[in-house]
Symmetry: C2
Subunit: 595 residues, 2 copies
């Protein structure tokens, strides 16, 4: 018997594999539940709430991990619970890792720890009247004798607390040093927590890693609060230019502080932060002006990587902790794309490979014969459901997959509920299906068809009739929606083609297409090829790698060498400004057509 | 005919040298008026107000430097005004340099400019669509091409303003660089102002110097506002330990900000600050804990020099400007004493020399045979008039000099007014005169004498009778006052003797005694020798050098080499803790006696 598990609030429907636990089922579906024991019932982290359906009863070993209150409220350990019927499962924020379907497989570089912050254990002797030495000099002497370190500088905030720290922990300390600066001193045994932050236009994800033990904690994420100031980058730049950039920066700072607190409980544990964001997010967080970003030639204020004291930004962390910002390439290719290239290894591949990170702006890089060319194209927010009549985000009730045949429309709906709209992957599918069924022609025009009707603003295709939807209204795809998707897919394909022609690369020479990012991980590649968004290559050449930007940020967090590599990638990239490129207009008009 | 000029508000009375201007008369008396032309009627800076008396009339060349309003209010150029009677002259704050009698003579090292902040002029090309480059990268490229500089880091605050600065001054800029960090960018031609700060327990003095032209501006000074929290260092440490150290630090920050504003009008001009303070002032300004400073073994938190961003302390300056703090030696020997050693050249002398900076705590250093030994002694506030029945600061109405003979007491009173009290140099004189006239014995006890009477609390010597004083009351020196001075002079002499015996140096081997500091500049050396405070050496071996700490701060401001020297001095010093020294008690009891 096959059951479905409906995971809330992320709205994913998963088929139940017989004999598996909820934890295993989720993992196989790419939904990573928090767990440090790997599903062996020892860490108590993978708690979920059973909202509906029958499950295996609680046994004694599971009960030991749950309070009476938790049991009453329906909480279970996902790793201990087996499914006996269709199920609705709620995953609390604390049990959910952000990265879903992080299919980095063989591509994930070894996470070799070589952090920029070094930790030194010291047991100092208490200061006596006979051996008077200033606290800072005593610390320096200990580091000199124990580790041969010299010429150290103290962080001011640390210096202010140094006397009380040394005495409170009885002169047994761990010293955190970063490029000759002593940035923190803490009791023996306290670990150094690093935080990799992936700062996207839509969401912010944090990846905590203990830098001296290499233990990763559960990643956590939340919505970028700047969404209140506009969905896209451009609308936020406009808002910032009207004089409120500080407000935008501060909203993100507050949110990152919440994530830090959520990750560690004690922000003072955090000794280093690495941050990968697109150039606009980077600038707003740093309080850099964004005026130049908002108009041609879309120049950032700074490209190189930066090391900034966390406290100078209002971020809560250890005394002298720094934030490392990955380098930018251009106004619309930021540290997040560098992080993608770092994580996917595109910079060192011998193949001809393309990496695509689809979003409101889609960054594309082509590696071939030792060169990397990159560009950004304005693919628009259509894939996030914006600008589409019945578009919505990929949450419960969204049509995420579509098949159309002569018998009607088969819809996959997130959350297995009645559909209320359609999300990016669904839109991609439906346009492909319309073309496949010849309901639209090559130019995208809706043809005569039983499900095509005259709407208020032109023709529209009825995807779901009102009696099957959650709203009671028909869900339709309008002629205008199709046009919007045409513009988006044409932008991406134009980008790919300009990169190919600029390097004299033929389509079939592409060995690999890496699709990064959350949206890219959920699309149906066949549909994307079918509408001409991607070149027509064997499916095996496509890899959907999930949130590679987050992994890249983590790589930069844990290793100095990776930072050097990131800087090298940024300076190696041949950046192409697409909109002013001589081939842009021609390629774009060709790409608008459907195959 | 001899006239007197009475300078207000500093309360100094000066004899008029025939033919001299007010400017020259003041200068010879050690009162330095602001002037960049040196008294040649061209800079208009030495304006003073004639309060009383007759002067030479204004001529055309002088009139050209004064507004109609200024002339009506009695303002004159000191360099253009000759004296025709006794005169009362008011020196506005803006016309007064703080350092009085800065008799550094041959001892002043050459002020060779080698600032830690370098200035580079650049004329960049405006960014165009064809040559898109991020602003920071454009700046770096210019510095690389023009000056071969690489690997630069930007200050965050500068980076935030960089795009607007570059465009506002049409890409013609001066770049201020400090140890690989670009800390400011400003329009072509704008000068880099440095500020040396001498932070004393009683006063704060600022010495502005243009670092790229070597022009010094008038020094300015004000009272340390922490006086409201206690006259001495210890009372402020106590206040700070009771939880209000931030308040103490902030009061000084506000005052330094006022001095900066007064010096330059535009605090953003200030590119570097050097600061010499005693250890407690240093700690309070930096927000470092002072608990350890307040109890044996009186340990500072840090000894080494520090470079701290001005903005991290709340100091107003250029974007990324730093404050350089001279190193400390111990809890009661701070950067101000290092500055004295730097300014007086004691660290490199071949002679056997002693430097003494007299204050509530008196720091003494002995240089002999290539070594420097230093200690601090608690000489108390008696020399500032505190703890003395009729004691007062060295301001108008204070008896500053005394001679006693059989005909009575001859008094020098600051401001040439009726006396209202006695200041430090006067107390020193009177005690010496009492001993010389055998009115006190070797143990300091008042003897029978027409002017000695029984007061409410023991014997007292009538220095001035009520009918000659400004208060109408007798001004007396009590037995207790004499005891207070005994303790103070014994502390200083004990310090000297412990240093001598510790290095096997005989008194007559001392080639030179350097007396630094404001109070030390006004005392009568013969009186100080007469009461046994100083060893009995030929007067020619004593040099009163004025505010050497201020000069030392200035030397550290203008030259990287001097900072290295300061650090070397601090680490070379053999520090002696006087109160726990085995010879202390014995020496002290011997030193209490008068010769």
């Amino acid at each position: 018997m096959a059951y479905q598990i409906n995971f809330e609030p992320i709205g994913h429907r998963v088929l139940y594999r017989e004999g598996a636990t909820i934890f295993e089922t989720a993992r196989e579906a790419g939904i990573l539940l928090t767990s440090s024991c790997g599903g062996r019932r020892t860490c108590s982290q993978c708690k979920v709430r059973i909202l509906d359906g029958d499950t295996s009863p609680i046994d004694e070993s599971e009960r030991a991990h749950l309070s009476e209150e938790e049991i009453i409220s329906g909480l279970r350990l996902a790793c201990a619970t087996r499914v006996l019927s269709n199920l609705k499962v709620y995953i609390p924020q604390t049990s959910l890792m952000v990265a879903q379907r992080l299919e980095l497989s063989a591509r994930e570089p070894a996470l070799s720890l070589e952090p920029v912050v070094a930790a030194y254990e010291l047991q100092l002797k208490a200061t006596t009247l006979k051996e008077p030495l200033a606290d800072w000099e005593k610390l320096c002497e200990g580091l000199k004798e124990g580790y041969g370190l010299g010429g150290l500088r103290p962080d001011l905030s640390l210096l202010r607390s140094l006397p009380s720290i040394l005495r409170a922990c009885d002169w047994a300390v761990v010293v955190a040093e970063r490029d000759g600066e002593v940035i923190d001193v803490r009791p023996h045994g306290q670990r150094l927590l690093g935080m990799a932050i992936d700062l996207c236009t839509t969401k912010i994800a944090a990846y905590p890693v203990y830098l001296n033990t290499e233990v990763s904690l559960a990643s956590i994420g939340t919505i970028n609060p700047q969404i209140a100031y506009g969905e896209g980058v451009m609308s936020r730049i406009t808002y910032a230019m009207e004089g409120s950039s500080q407000e935008l920066g501060e909203s993100v700072i507050r949110t990152i502080n919440q994530l830090i607190k959520e990750a560690s409980g004690n922000p003072e544990e955090v000794i280093e932060i690495s941050l990968a964001g697109n150039t606009a997010m980077h600038h707003l967080l740093l309080g850099l002006p964004v005026r130049q970003l908002g108009r041609a030639p879309y120049l950032p204020t700074v490209r190189r990587s930066l090391d900034i004291k966390a406290r100078d930004l209002g971020l809560q962390a250890a005394h002298g902790a720094y934030v490392y910002f990955l380098p930018n390439v251009a106004g619309f290719i930021g540290g997040d794309h560098i992080a993608v290239l770092l994580a996917t290894g595109l910079y060192e591949t011998n193949k001809t490979a393309i990496a695509i990170d689809i979003g409101t702006n889609t960054e594309i890089s082509l590696a071939t014969r030792g060169t990397i060319s990159s560009l950004s194209c304005a693919s628009g927010p259509a894939f996030e459901g914006a600008g589409i009549k019945h578009g919505m985000r990929a949450t419960s009730g969204a049509i995420e997959g579509v098949e159309i045949d002569n018998d009607g429309n088969y819809l996959k709906v997130i959350g297995n509920v009645s559909p209320v709209g359609i999300c990016g992957s669904g839109i991609l599918d439906v346009v492909y299906q319309l073309r496949k069924q010849c309901i639209i022609d090559q130019r995208g025009r809706l043809q005569d068809h039983p499900l095509v009707r005259q709407g208020l603003a032109g023709h529209e295709f009825v995807l779901a009739s009102g009696n099957t939807t959650g709203t009671g209204q028909d869900i339709v795809i309008t002629q205008r929606d199709i046009g919007t998707i045409q513009l988006a897919k044409a932008a991406i394909r134009t980008g790919i083609n300009v990169l190919l022609s600029g390097t004299g690369t033929k389509e079939n020479e592409i060995d690999e297409v890496i699709i990064a990012g959350a949206f890219g991980s959920y699309i149906d590649i066949a549909s994307a090829i079918g509408i001409g968004m991607f070149p027509s290559l064997p499916l095996a050449r496509f890899h959907q790698v999930g949130n590679a930007a987050g992994l890249g940020a983590k790589l930069a967090l844990i290793s100095r060498k990776n930072r050097t590599t990131a800087e090298e990638i940024a300076s190696r990239i041949r950046y192409i400004e697409l909109t002013t490129h001589p081939k842009f207009k021609h390629e774009f008009s060709l790409s608008l057509r459907f195959p």
